[in-house]
């Protein structure tokens, strides 16, 4: 129940923050943070499935290509599980490193699909213009978001 509440809250927060920021600044990715939070509380198989499902939902609500965000989020969750075995997720600095690597993996997933679909619609300048602000804002907002998630769902594994 609390996970559902967090999901709804995250999606509304996503549109709220997108609306508050100026047009030239890409919003932080609460979908990504939500996928990581849910992954941190599930076994890897269920976590990957949840991330993929969330990504599909994001594809559908973004009026974009089906599979695009799904591949991004499932890649992030996969790297999250890989890194969680090497670093201590409970420590704040390690947590940021894991998040950073998972975020890069998310964009790696995007790139795989962009290559697969032979997009000409996402030139490198687009990636830089969106990637960097999104990365910085997501990392900045990650600590309070994770704190809130812990308050709602309890500490992760």
């Amino acid at each position: 129940m609390n996970a559902l509440l967090l999901t709804l809250f995250s999606l509304i927060l996503q549109s709220l923050v997108s609306g508050l920021l100026p047009d030239w600044l890409s919003p932080p990715d609460f979908w990504f943070l939500l996928a990581v939070v849910l992954a941190s509380r599930q076994n890897p198989y269920l976590g990957l499935a949840t991330a993929f499902g969330l990504g599909l939902l994001q594809d559908l609500t973004s009026a974009g290509y089906l599979g695009f965000h799904a591949l991004g989020l499932v890649s992030a969750a996969y790297v999250f599980y890989g890194m969680r075995g090497l670093l201590h997720w409970e420590e704040p600095v390690a947590r940021l490193v894991v998040l950073l690597l998972a975020f890069v993996a998310k964009w790696g997933g995007y790139l795989i699909l962009v290559y697969w679909m032979r997009y000409t619609t996402l030139p490198p300048s687009t990636w830089l213009g969106v990637f960097l602000p999104e990365l910085i804002l997501t990392m900045l907002l990650a600590p309070p978001y994770l704190h809130l998630a812990e308050a709602l769902l309890g500490p992760g594994e």
Binding site: L48, L60, Y110, G129
Partner: protein
């Protein structure tokens, strides 16, 4: 084992994207139109917060502003007579314009926007029941907004000009040379023009494709940078900032299809 499961998801995503891009390209846009009310809550809240912030900021210097306004009113009264003549002239011009330009179909509210950082799409609070259909140009008082790419009975999805899939035929407002403006999110356009086109930073770009989706002459963007041209390049590439602030749009004007 987990790696195999992950690879399975990668394959599933690639298959889904390839299949749906050809067999059901409008499915995500249709779902987005239906789920818009949920995301509209945050969007509307953000718009209200921005408006509240603006109004707080603007109220700070009311007394000074009042004095200035009184002076302005006096000045405006003087100019009123002159304006009446001008209005009459413009009325005649408008009659001509209305008989030649496409009709306004509707003025729908913007109720939400997409939640991806990569796309730039808006959800309108009107749809097929109000006469909207796919391919209709969408504008605002500031300039071109985009084009409708999907509709349901009471919603429509607009692909804005800065969306990465957007292509708009443009030309400089004061010089010859037609080119294509490619959307570059979050808020930029990359325009390819013939090398002979004379263009400078600050120049206005307007719609200008022959037999295109958009009526001629709608303001689109202002040039912010002219990119260096590699030797032998066949196109001149410039970057431009759209005139419309998409985050501030509360309503838009939908024009009839050309």
């Amino acid at each position: 084992m987990l790696r195999l499961v992950y690879l399975g998801y990668v394959l599933l995503a690639l298959t889904l994207s390839a299949l749906t891009a050809h067999t059901a390209p409008t499915l995500p846009a249709e779902v987005a139109a239906y789920t818009a009310p949920l995301f509209g809550i945050g969007h509307r809240l953000a718009q209200n917060l921005r408006a509240a912030g603006r109004s707080l900021f603007e109220r700070r210097d009311l007394r000074t502003e009042n004095a200035l306004l009184r002076e302005e009113v006096a000045w405006l009264k003087e100019g009123n007579l002159e304006l009446k003549v001008e209005v009459e002239r413009l009325r005649r011009a408008l009659e001509v314009r209305e008989s030649q330009a496409p009709n306004v179909v509707a003025v729908p509210p913007v109720i939400s926007e997409d939640t991806s950082g990569l796309y730039r799409r808006l959800i309108l609070g009107m749809g097929e029941a109000d006469g909207l259909s796919v391919g209709m140009p969408v504008t605002s008082a500031d300039g071109l907004v985009g084009v409708i790419i999907e509709t349901t009975a009471h919603r429509a999805v607009v692909r804005t000009v800065v969306d990465p899939e957007s292509r708009v035929g443009v030309r400089p407002a004061d010089a010859p040379g037609r080119g294509i403006a490619y959307g570059e999110p979050p808020a930029s356009l990359r325009i390819e023009l013939p090398v002979e086109t004379e263009i400078a930073i600050g120049d206005l770009l307007v719609t200008g494709s022959l037999r295109g989706l958009f009526p001629e002459g709608i303001p689109v963007a202002r040039v912010t940078a002219i990119l260096p041209r590699p030797a032998g390049a066949l196109r001149k590439v410039v970057r431009a900032e759209p005139l419309v602030k998409f985050g501030l749009l509360e309503e838009v004007v939908v024009l009839g299809k050309l």
